[in-house]
Symmetry: C2
Subunit: 374 residues, 2 copies
């Protein structure tokens, strides 16, 4: 073994993915593998006209969640939902899940029941089955889930298909999960400062807290699109924030994009949280992560069908690559939209559990390399 010790944090997220890919480069490619590393899920042939997709996502205590915030049933639900979200981002239907669970010593049978109840509830909601797994003692609670899905070959959607002139669309509203995290972290701080005399007001921010703790995968949106006869030209799920995901589509499709900031929807409760913290709500909507909405592009002839769909917004247009990814708002005009926040705003909301916990580890945090690190 090499005697050098280079910290992983020195690579950065994309450096880490590049490094891993380089170590895996000389594995021979199978003709049945259509997409490996580099999209929301890997895609391979399974039968004459069917493709299967597979994705893996982990939630680790202290990195992705704080056990004092989240009931175990929500955690079980969320661990399934975030994987289903990657599957539906390929326009595929989830079928099977396996779970690798690490349970620490201070985890009870009752907590485990909650965890599996939450997973079972999510499996039922998304019409899939939990078919196997591995449960082990661990130092901290973690849930690593793999979900396999299916899609007709003619229906599969990648990140790479956006064309100049397409419209950029978004399901639901964004920024809520980030707002929920802000509320939870603030309440933890208040509790630490004020002790038992502090009574958290969870009622006031139910919607955003639920967006953070029990997100939904938008299987209903791809079903709605199918019903409307619309096949997106490209698609990605919003796990790292709208701005970051627009960049992923741009990079993979070889295009630029303009996001119309006033068109990016957020919930009134998200605005209330931003106001309370004197933050810009547009920053929550553009850069907040973990909303698990779908960001996709459609051809111009399909935009009328999108306008007719409830709960889907047209938020921008696809342009030449040379124009880059830009944001337009009446106040500021056109300006570059950086993946993780821009200077105009008072600092991007890069909050995660880890930075709040202090010295929890290197900054790579979580690099999902089935998905460009998104």
């Amino acid at each position: 073994m090499s005697q050098s010790f280079t910290p992983i944090s020195s690579l950065g997220e994309f450096g880490l993915i590049d490094r891993m890919q380089s170590r895996l480069a000389d594995i021979p490619r199978s003709e049945n593998l259509i997409v490996g590393i580099g999209d929301d899920a890997a895609v391979y042939r399974a039968g004459d006209t069917k493709l299967h997709v597979v994705t893996t996502d982990v939630l680790i205590e202290g990195v992705h969640f704080d056990r004092t915030f989240i009931p175990t049933s929500y955690l079980g639900w969320k661990a399934i939902a975030v994987n289903v979200s990657d599957v539906v981002a390929m326009n595929a239907k989830p079928l099977y899940a396996t779970v690798s669970a690490g349970l620490p010593r201070n985890f009870s049978v009752e907590m485990m029941d909650g965890l599996y109840d939450g997973m079972a509830e999510a499996c039922k909601a998304y019409g899939m089955e939990l078919v196997g797994g591995d449960t082990s003692t661990a130092h901290a609670l973690y849930l690593s889930i793999t979900v396999i899905g299916e899609v007709d070959e003619k229906d599969v959607v990648f990140r790479r298909g956006a064309n100049v002139g397409d419209y950029l669309c978004l399901s639901g509203d964004v920024g809520g999960a980030y707002a929920g995290l802000k509320v939870l972290l603030d309440q933890r701080e208040q509790l630490e400062n004020m002790g038992d005399s502090y009574e958290p007001d969870l009622e006031a921010f139910q919607y955003v807290i639920r967006r953070q703790l029990r997100p939904k995968a938008r299987l209903d949106v791809i079903e709605g699109l199918k019903k409307a006869g619309v096949r997106p030209t490209s698609m990605i799920d919003v796990s790292d924030g709208v701005a970051s995901e627009v960049h992923h589509i741009g990079l993979r499709s070889g295009v630029g994009a303009t996001v119309r900031v006033p068109a990016v929807p957020f919930d009134p409760e998200t605005r209330a949280v931003a106001d309370q913290f004197m933050d810009d709500v547009d920053a929550y909507a553009l850069f907040g992560g973990e909303d698990y909405e779908l960001l996709f592009t459609v051809a111009p002839e399909d935009v009328q069908a999108i306008d007719d769909m409830e709960g889907v917004s047209v938020i921008g247009t696809i342009e030449e690559a040379a124009k880059g990814v830009r944001a337009y708002s009446p106040d500021t005009g056109l300006m570059p939209l950086h993946p993780a926040g821009y200077q105009h705003f008072d600092g991007p909301p890069q909050t995660d559990y880890e930075t709040f916990d202090g010295e929890e580890g290197p900054s790579f945090d979580d690099t999902e390399f089935s998905g460009d690190g998104a």
Copy 2:
């Protein structure tokens, strides 16, 4: 949430699996799912004549391995191999792997390179591809791998197909991985007692140490069986020890079995280790885990073909369920063979890293419930 706190260790391994299955019981079953929880891997239809299989297995630092023992490239290899072993136990060929990796703060880029080199080497050796994953900061090093494999519907082998009169067969030799663990643990103890003046003699026990740190999945054996025109009636991989796996086949197939102890093969180095520790080498062979050989049954008409194969032994016969699982040796005659050691021997080798580490956690350790906990 319930206010009760029942320790998970109180459930026991099978209690834990039952409990998890009960929480998942009311998820509707898909007609394409052939086997879910309850075999080495889950099996589902993928095309007209093809079945896919999927399995998940985790290796966690301090539970399944000691980082001071195992080079990261071996760990990467082993994490893939133990999953491939479950796939080949279904008589299937591995195709795709996803990896969920948790990297602690004291893990370097160089160590990560080793990890991915080891995984890449295993993928090449088994003709498969690493198609995606998720890498995160974690409290301790862990690797949770999912492998998807493929098998023609007519070739799939379950645990449940053994018939009375079949022969019980075993690939390779067993007890070596356990002997290797004994050597490594002993050397750690010596190092702790003697400090730097102790020089471990790794040369003397290379074979058994390699069996422990870099096990092979026996894809070659199922290829050999196919070539010989033999389809086993049941099959399982030996991860928990021969005795335990015979019980799994017996339970699933509704049969009993007699294992002829002198027929269970071990390597001379395994005997040398047992001798050194004044242990019974047959206990290593029957109860030692992690050999990842294949235990399978064949119909009487196929036993000649098995005799002609190199590296496969006939170690017993399948009998009526009422007879239970028994061991025969000339010294002791017929006696019950318990899954985890019998009193005749001087205590079963139930060693794992955890019991050696002291108070590391509850006793369920590792419950792979895609595989009856085996």
